[in-house]
Amino acid sequence: MHARSKHWTHRIDWVLLLALIGLASIGVAFIYSAASVHGITDPEHWFQHRFVRQIFACVLGFGFAVGVCFVDYHLIARWSMLFYWGAIIALLVVLFFDPIHGARRWLSLGPIRLQPSEFSKIATICALGHFLSRPLDELRLPSLFFQTLGLIGLPFCLILIEPDLGSSLVLIPVGLVMMFIAGIPKIYLARLVSGSLLVLSLVVVDTLFFPKLLPVVQLEEYQKNRLRVYFGMSFAPPNATQAEKRKADREEREFSYNVNQALISVGSGGMTGKGWCQGTQNALGYLPKPVAHNDFIFSVIAEEWGFLGSMTVLLLNGVVIIQGLRIASQARDRMGKVIATGVVMLWFSHVFINIGMNIRLMPVTGLPLPLLSYGGSSALSFMMAMGLLQNVKIYKRNY
C-alpha cells in the first residue's frame, strides 16, 4: 500500500487517537459506575457486565477503524452507494421486527442486537461525500440539489418512522454542513434552512398550542410531551376538567422526571463531584435505570466528577472536533474534506444535543454521547467514523 511507503506513524493523528482512548476509558468507567451500584442481580457471566460489553464494542470498533484505514477512502467512496442502499434495506428490515420499548430500532441477530440507524448515518455521510464530490458546476444544478435532499431524506424518513426522532434529526445538520462545505449554492441552503425552520416552528407551535386544531405533523404522543416539557407547557388542554388536569399534571410530572433528575444530578455535582461510584442520584435510582448508562451517562459523569469532569469530557470532544476540522482542511480533495466535515458534524451534533439535554438546553432525545454512552452499535459506528477521519488524513498526500 502507498500509505506504508512513508512513515506510517507520521500519518496517524495521535492527538485524535489519545482523545478517543480517553473518551472510551471514561465511558467504560462510568458505565461500570452506573451499573455497579444498582443492586440489580449480577449477571451470570463476567462478559455479560455492561462495561465488559462496552470494552468489547470499543475494541471491536477500533479494529474496524484500523481496517477502514487500510482502504483508501476513494475506494470506500466508490462503494459507498452500496453501503448506503444496504443501510436503507437494514432500516426497512428493522421495521418488521417486534418493537422494543415502543420503537423498532434494533435488528436482533442472536445474542447481539444491532441498531442500523447508527451505521446508516456513516453510510449516508460516505454516500453524500461521494455524491457531492462532482465538479462545482454540477452542484449548481437544482436537480442535483434535490437529489442530494433525497439522499438525505430517505434514511431520515426511515429512521423517523422507527421512531427515533433524535437520530433522524441529526442527519439535518450533518447534511446541511456537508452541502455547505461541498459548495452547493448558498441560496439553496438558505432556502432550505428557512423552509425547514418554518416547518419546525409550525410543528412546535402546532404541538404546543393547537394540539387538535391543526394536525400538521402527527408527532408521537411522547415526542409531543417532550416538547411540552422543554417549553414548560402544561400538558392539560386549556379547557380541561379538574380530573383531566390532574391526570395531565401527573403525566407531566412523570415526563419531566427524567429531565429534572438529570438536572439535579448534574447540578449537585458541583465543582469536583462526589467521586467515582459515589453518586447517589444513580445509585438510589432517581436517575431512571434504563437510561442512566446510555442517554444520561453524562449526568452520572457530571455528578461524580463535577464541573471539572464535565469540562474534561467537553475538552476531549473539543479535541476530536478540532482535529477533525484540521483533517478536513488538509484533505487532498473535496471528497475527503466533505466526508471529514460530515463525520465532525455527526460527532458534534451528538455531543451538543446529548449534553444539552442533560442541562435542559435541548429537549430530550435518545441520542447517545459518542463513546461514552453504553451501546455496541453506537460505539462501533463512532469508532468506524473516526477510522474514516484518520483515513482522510492518511491518504491526503497520495497523489
Partner: protein, 655 residues
C-alpha cells in the same frame, strides 16, 4: 477555475463552521458552569430533599425525684416488635407474582394487586410473629397502608407493649422472620400511682403538628418517633427541661422511598432530672388525710404542707385525684370525658393551686395582725359581742355567741362580731394593705400559668363604691376575697416564722447528665424572700399565742387537732358561698390552717375542704393526721441528689 482561490473560499467555509462549533461549545460550557457552579446549592438541596428523610429521635426524659431522691416519675421500657419494610421488597414481588399467576393485568388492577400483595405478605408475617409470642394480633390494613405510603423508610411497629416473657419468646424463635426486629421505646411511669398526680401532671402522645422544636432548631422532621409530651403539672411546666433535646438521624432513601442508609448526625441531649422539695412521706400522709373518714366518697379539697422557714412545699395534695399512668396508654373517651365533666368531681383540677375559695375566718389572722400592729386592737380590752353583728339592717351571724371577748378569746372562739367591729375600725384600705403584704390576688409563682391568684380588692376598688358591709364581710374572710390553699400556706408560714413571706418553692434543682457519665446538680435558690409582714415581733407573738389557744384551749375551734406533747397553732375557717350542693344546702368552704411546733415553727399545714361542714369538724381532724406523721419526722434535710442504682429502666431508656 483557479484551484487556489477555490481552496481559499472553501477554507472560509470551514472557518465559519469552526467558529460556529466553537460558539456552541462555549454555550455548553456556560450552561454547565451555570448548572454546576452557580446553581449548585439549589440542586444539592433538591437532591437532599428527595433523597433524605429526617427523623426525630426523642431524648430520654428526665426523671422526677422527691427531696430524698425517691422516684416520683420513671421511664420504663416499652417493648415493640417492628418490621422493616425495605427488607421485604423481594417478598412483595414474590407474593405479587404468586397472586397474579400468568394473567395479564391492566395497569390499575396491577397496582391494586401490588397493594394486596404487600399487605398480605406483612400481615402473614405478623400473624406468624403473634403465634410465636402468643399474643393474638392482626395488622390493620389502613394503618399498614398509611405507614407504607408515608414512612416506608421507617420500621413499622406491628406488635406493641410486649411483656418480658413475650420478648424472650420472640428473641428465641422470631429471628427467622425476615425484617422483624425488637425495639425498645420508653414510656413514662409513675411508680406511686396517683401520688402527687396534680403536681406531677401527666403525659400525652406528642402531636405531629406541635412545632416547638421547629421554631428553635429551625428544622422540620419528616418522621417523629412516637414520643410523649408533658401536658399538665410539672411535666407540662418543665417540658423543655425534662424532655431534653431530640436527636436527629437522616435516612437515605431511594427513588422507591425505601431505606438505603442511616446516619445519626444530631446526638440527642437527655432531659434533666428534676428534684422536688416534695417529701413523699408527707405527701402520702396528706393524701391519706384527704381520704380520711370517707375513703369512697370523693372529698373535694386540698392539703398544702410547707416548710415555713424557707417556703419549700413539702406536700401539695388535691382531692379527688387520678392516676397519671392511664394517660400514657390508650385513653378511651369513656374514661376521659367524665374527668372533665364540669358537673362531676373534676379530678384533674388542682384545688391546691387552681381553686379559688373564700378564706372565711382564717383571714382573721390578717385582721388581727393589722389591728394589733396599728394599735387599734388592745389584746387585753374586752369587747361585748351580741351573738351577731348588726349591719345596716341585717344581722351577720356569729357562731361564737354573745359575751365578752378579749383578743385571744375572740380568736379561738372565732367571733365574727369582734373582728367585724375592729375590721370596720381599721378601714378597708388598711385591710387591703395587709392583704397585699401576703400578696393576695397574685400568683405565688409556684407553677406559672397553672395557678390562680384568686381575688383581692385593690386600694382603688375600696375607695370607690365600697360599702361598710363589704368591709364587714372582708373582715371575716367573706365576700370579695378569693384565695388558694397555697396562698394560705404562704400566709401561715409568714405568721409562723415571724413575718417573712417566701416565694414558695417546689423545684429543688436540676441534675443534668454529662456525656462522660458524670452529673451536675444545679440547685434552685432556696428560701427566696418575697416580702415581710409589717408587724412587730410582739404583735406576731400575740397572734401566735392566739393561734396556739385555738388548738390547745378546750373551747378553741381547732381543739380537735390537739396532739399531746406537740404544740400546734391554728385557725379554723368556714365560709358560706352562694352556691348550693345537690342537697340544696349552701356549699361551705371550710379551712384549717396551722403550724407546728409552736416553739420553733417548722411546718405550715393548710387543709381545705371545699364542701365541708365547718373548719372545726371537716378540716381540723385532717390536719391532725398530717401533724401526727410530721411530728415524728426528722427536720427537713438539705436536698441533694443521691447516688442511684441504675436499673434496667435507666439503661433501656435510650432507643
Amino acid at each position: 477555475m483557479n484551484p487556489v482561490k477555490n481552496m481559499r473560499r472553501e477554507d472560509m467555509g470551514l472557518q465559519c463552521l469552526a467558529i460556529g462549533l466553537f460558539c456552541c461549545f462555549v454555550i455548553l460550557a456556560g450552561g454547565l458552569w451555570y448548572v454546576q457552579i452557580v446553581s449548585f446549592k439549589k440542586y444539592e438541596k433538591y437532591r437532599e430533599v428527595q433523597s433524605y428523610r429526617t427523623v426525630r429521635i426523642p431524648a430520654p426524659r428526665g426523671l422526677i425525684y422527691d427531696r430524698d431522691a425517691q422516684l416520683l416519675a420513671d421511664n420504663e421500657p416499652n417493648l415493640n416488635i417492628v418490621v422493616y419494610l425495605d427488607q421485604l421488597r423481594e417478598d412483595f414481588t414474590r407474593t405479587y407474582h404468586d397472586l397474579k399467576g400468568d394473567k395479564d393485568l391492566p395497569y390499575l388492577e396491577g397496582l391494586e394487586l401490588e397493594k394486596d400483595a404487600r399487605y398480605l405478605t406483612v400481615s402473614n408475617m405478623v400473624y406468624e410473629a403473634s403465634v410465636i409470642i402468643g399474643k393474638p394480633s392482626a395488622l390493620v390494613r389502613s394503618e399498614f397502608e398509611s405507614h407504607y405510603y408515608r414512612h416506608r423508610y421507617m420500621a413499622m411497629p406491628v406488635l406493641t407493649g410486649l411483656s418480658r416473657e413475650q420478648m424472650a419468646r420472640f428473641m428465641e424463635q422470631g429471628s427467622r422472620l425476615k425484617g422483624f426486629d425488637l425495639e425498645v421505646r420508653s414510656k413514662r411511669r409513675y411508680p406511686n400511682g396517683s401520688l402527687a398526680a396534680h403536681l406531677l401532671g401527666y403525659m400525652r402522645p406528642r402531636q405531629r403538628t406541635s412545632n416547638e422544636e421547629t421554631a428553635t432548631l429551625q428544622m422540620s422532621f419528616d418522621y417523629e418517633l412516637p414520643d410523649f409530651m408533658g401536658k399538665y403539672g410539672l411535666e407540662g411546666q418543665y417540658e423543655d427541661e425534662l424532655s431534653g433535646e431530640p436527636g436527629a438521624k437522616s435516612i437515605l432513601v431511594n427513588n422507591m422511598i425505601y431505606r438505603q442508609e442511616e446516619e445519626e448526625w444530631l446526638p440527642l441531649l437527655p432531659g434533666k432530672h428534676l428534684y422536688l422539695t416534695l417529701d413523699t412521706d408527707i405527701q402520702k400522709a396528706a393524701e391519706d388525710a384527704l381520704r380520711y373518714l370517707n375513703p369512697n366518697q370523693q372529698r373535694r379539697g386540698a392539703i398544702v404542707v410547707m416548710d415555713c422557714n424557707n417556703g419549700d412545699v413539702l406536700a401539695l395534695a388535691s382531692a379527688p385525684t387520678f392516676d397519671p399512668n392511664i394517660f400514657t396508654g390508650f385513653l378511651p373517651a369513656s374514661v376521659f370525658n367524665p374527668m372533665i365533666d364540669p358537673k362531676g368531681s373534676l379530678p384533674l383540677f388542682n384545688r391546691a393551686t387552681y381553686g379559688r375559695y373564700h378564706p372565711g375566718s382564717i383571714f382573721k389572722i390578717m385582721i388581727g395582725l393589722a389591728g394589733l400592729e396599728s394599735g387599734i386592737i388592745d389584746p387585753e380590752a374586752e369587747f361585748f359581742g351580741q351573738g351577731y353583728f348588726p349591719m345596716s339592717g341585717r344581722r351577720i351571724d356569729d357562731t361564737a355567741g354573745a359575751g365578752y371577748f378579749n383578743f385571744e378569746r375572740a380568736f379561738y372562739k372565732s367571733s365574727n362580731a369582734y373582728f367585724i367591729h375592729y375590721g370596720l375600725k381599721l378601714g378597708p384600705e388598711t385591710i387591703v394593705d395587709y392583704g397585699n403584704q401576703i400578696f393576695l390576688g397574685k400568683e405565688t409563682g409556684l407553677l406559672p400559668a397553672q395557678e390562680t391568684g384568686g381575688y383581692f380588692p385593690s386600694k382603688q376598688t375600696v375607695r370607690k363604691g365600697w360599702h361598710p358591709g363589704d368591709t364587714a364581710n372582708l373582715s371575716i374572710g367573706q365576700g370579695k376575697i378569693d384565695v388558694t390553699p397555697l396562698q394560705m400556706a404562704v400566709m401561715t408560714s409568714a405568721v409562723a416564722n415571724g413575718g417573712t413571706v417566701f416565694w414558695p418553692r417546689i423545684v429543688a434543682g436540676w441534675e443534668s447528665m454529662m456525656p462522660n457519665g458524670a452529673s451536675v446538680f444545679e440547685p434552685e435558690p432556696e428560701g427566696r424572700i418575697r416580702g415581710r409582714l409589717r408587724a412587730s415581733p410582739q404583735s406576731i407573738e400575740i397572734l401566735q399565742k392566739a393561734m396556739l389557744a385555738d388548738v390547745e384551749n378546750r373551747n378553741g375551734s381547732g381543739s380537735i387537732c390537739r396532739i399531746p406533747g406537740y404544740l400546734i397553732g391554728g385557725k379554723t375557717g368556714t365560709a358560706e358561698t352562694s352556691f348550693k350542693n345537690s342537697n340544696g344546702r349552701r356549699i361551705k368552704h371550710t379551712w384549717f390552717v396551722a403550724y407546728a411546733p409552736h416553739k420553733n415553727p417548722r411546718y405550715a399545714v393548710v387543709v381545705l375542704d371545699s364542701e365541708g361542714l365547718s373548719g372545726r369538724s371537716s378540716c381540723a381532724p385532717l390536719a391532725k393526721i398530717v401533724f401526727t406523721s410530721l411530728k415524728d419526722l426528722p427536720n427537713p434535710s438539705h436536698i441533694e441528689p443521691r447516688k442511684k442504682v441504675f436499673t434496667l429502666g435507666d439503661n433501656a431508656r435510650s432507643l
